[in-house]
Symmetry: C2
Subunit: 350 residues, 2 copies
């Protein structure tokens, strides 16, 4: 016997049947109309849309997902939404996804493998059509989960040999080379690097690219001038402090990310060092705030829009055309130098 009084209080939501009834067609026709099937005659189509409007109907996505196997849900896992780099990424990703009829599920892993595992699990439960893992580290922990479930996945700077997995390679090299070149041309010969935590692939790549750029410029990298920080403002401050303790100090500092650079700006100010006269500082990322530091930060831009676009495309092509053997599985996002106020020729004084 069918249940009678359900959880729904009174005004039941219109469903496909009500639309069909009002338009005097079958539910199949309603479904076809909504999904833009070319099989529906214009006459019926018109009646259906009219009924839909009249009832203010929209389809139940869960029912849809259940039968079609596709949820039109995309997951994006970031390291920490509170880190200014990520809201901008999420913003772009959402915008693109929504424009294509997808919804997104956002989660922060907080650099904790256990949390990451939970995030992935939750997304799997919601049957996402794909997951963008934008954590820049620790991806290894979750690969199995994802891959075995046959879910499309896109990683940043981590290549995974699975037909469902894509990689976004970030070409820091071009930006970092420009930055070092720029400092060199300004007259700097003593350049330090405040690196990111070595648990992050991106941090290691950035550091290596810095070394390469220095070599290309004919400059040597002083061991003591490369310091592992943690990509936070505080980390930048203490990195700067370590540099200050040294007998010989650099005239310019390239930082692995903008937050570190902002920390340097702050610490330098408190030490009475003037940027850029006494010290040049270069960041990396070009977060929105970089424009508003004092002085405005010269930095290497990593476009969040490009990154988001690549992530979305990678996921979408797999989700919508899984049979295609020639899907693009590698994307490249490049970087470029943005000149602002934190770099200048070194003072001769020292």
């Amino acid at each position: 016997m069918p249940r009678k009084a359900t959880h729904k209080t009174a005004g039941k939501m219109p469903d496909i049947r009500s639309v069909a009834a009002l338009a005097k067609v079958s539910i199949a026709t309603v479904s076809r109309t909504i999904n833009g099937s070319p099989l529906v005659s214009e006459r019926l189509s018109k009646r259906v849309w009219q009924a839909i409007k009249q009832l203010n109907y929209f389809p139940n996505t869960h029912a849809r997902t259940l039968v079609s196997g596709r949820s039109r849900l995309l997951g994006i896992i970031v390291e920490n939404i509170t880190n200014p780099f990520f809201p901008e990424l999420v913003q772009s990703f959402e915008e693109i996804a929504v424009r294509h009829g997808y919804e997104i599920l956002v989660s922060s892993s907080n650099s904790d493998p256990a949390v990451l595992t939970t995030c992935v699990r939750r997304m799997l439960e919601r049957k996402v059509d794909g997951v963008a893992v934008m954590t820049f580290g620790e991806e290894e922990t979750v690969l199995d989960q994802l891959v075995h479930r046959n879910v499309p996945i896109v990683l940043a700077e981590f290549r995974l040999e699975d037909p469902k997995a894509s990689t976004i390679l970030l070409d820091y090299s071009s930006g970092i080379h420009s930055a070092v070149r720029h400092l060199f041309e300004l007259g700097h010969r003593s350049i330090a690097f405040l690196a990111g935590p070595h648990t992050l692939h991106s941090a290691i790549t950035r550091e290596n690219d810095f070394r390469a750029a220095m070599q290309a410029a004919g400059l040597t990298v002083q061991k003591k001038w490369v310091i592992e920080c943690d990509h936070t403002l505080k980390g930048g401050m203490s990195g700067f402090a370590q540099l200050q303790k040294l007998a010989t100090r650099p005239t310019a500092i390239v930082c692995s990310n903008d937050m570190t650079a902002i920390g340097v700006l702050r610490a330098a100010y408190m030490e009475g060092l003037r940027v850029p006269q006494d010290l040049s500082v270069v960041g990396l990322d070009d977060i929105d705030f970089a424009e508003f530091t004092l002085p405005p930060l010269t930095t290497i831009r990593l476009s969040r829009v490009d990154l988001a676009r690549a992530a979305f495309e990678a996921l979408r092509s797999h989700a919508e055309d899984p049979a295609n053997p020639k899907i693009q599985r590698e994307f490249l996002v490049s970087t470029s130098l943005v000149l602002r106020g934190s770099t200048a020729a070194p003072s001769t004084k020292p």
Copy 2:
């Protein structure tokens, strides 16, 4: 005739039937076990869990939603995820929601009523169990949509006479009074206010509370010293610039939010004014970054954790206990002054 080869390539995901088969019980028993029904004997329960583990099974949330009518999805709409205030709010909201077995859908309205409408629509399509509208303005546009669909909703500073709607009242008053009092005791008598855009309920409330606090301190509010800005860093800079053009200038500025205050800090620095010696500045929100400005910002803290908690509780109580007539429909989140380095006694020099 049942369809055969489906979209799923090969290894079909385990479903409730596979678990039932492996555990040699009915699917009802599996369902009961998973949902913690007390009716299942320990013997069977054990067998079921064992099978679940063995198959690495988890339930399909869409199927669940379809039959139960509850999605365990909560929507949160913020004004702009790129605004530092909101990631912190979203972070807390997510954490609480996940802890209670909910997933969240995040969207930015970008202060655009049309976008807001779309956001709400999308959330409705996904059958969210509730929506937190944390836009602090323009809520009116979407009330009908939401309320007519009978979806629990929680608004900030906007009261709505509907049994499904809750309100979070923010008590800026206490924090703003403390701030004005603090400035007064430092010796300030000339205090300006850089307001937020009057399209925001919160901005208006904050301004009114400032006026009340001034009156309570026995101080008069100069007309020209209350300027409507836009809650952005740039807005704060230009607000400050306007103040500078005046013949008589304030010795202290209270800002409607931290971004405005940071703008003031920046503009003051560029003008050669020293904060706090020449000018005291107070912010509002206490975003993470406030601690790292130069000087660290004295500000009025509005706890995002408290706000998120209230929003979640409001939604959850409605979602899980809709029949209860005595549901709490109004929540209060208070503010408090955080003393840091941007306030001091005014210099006598003027």
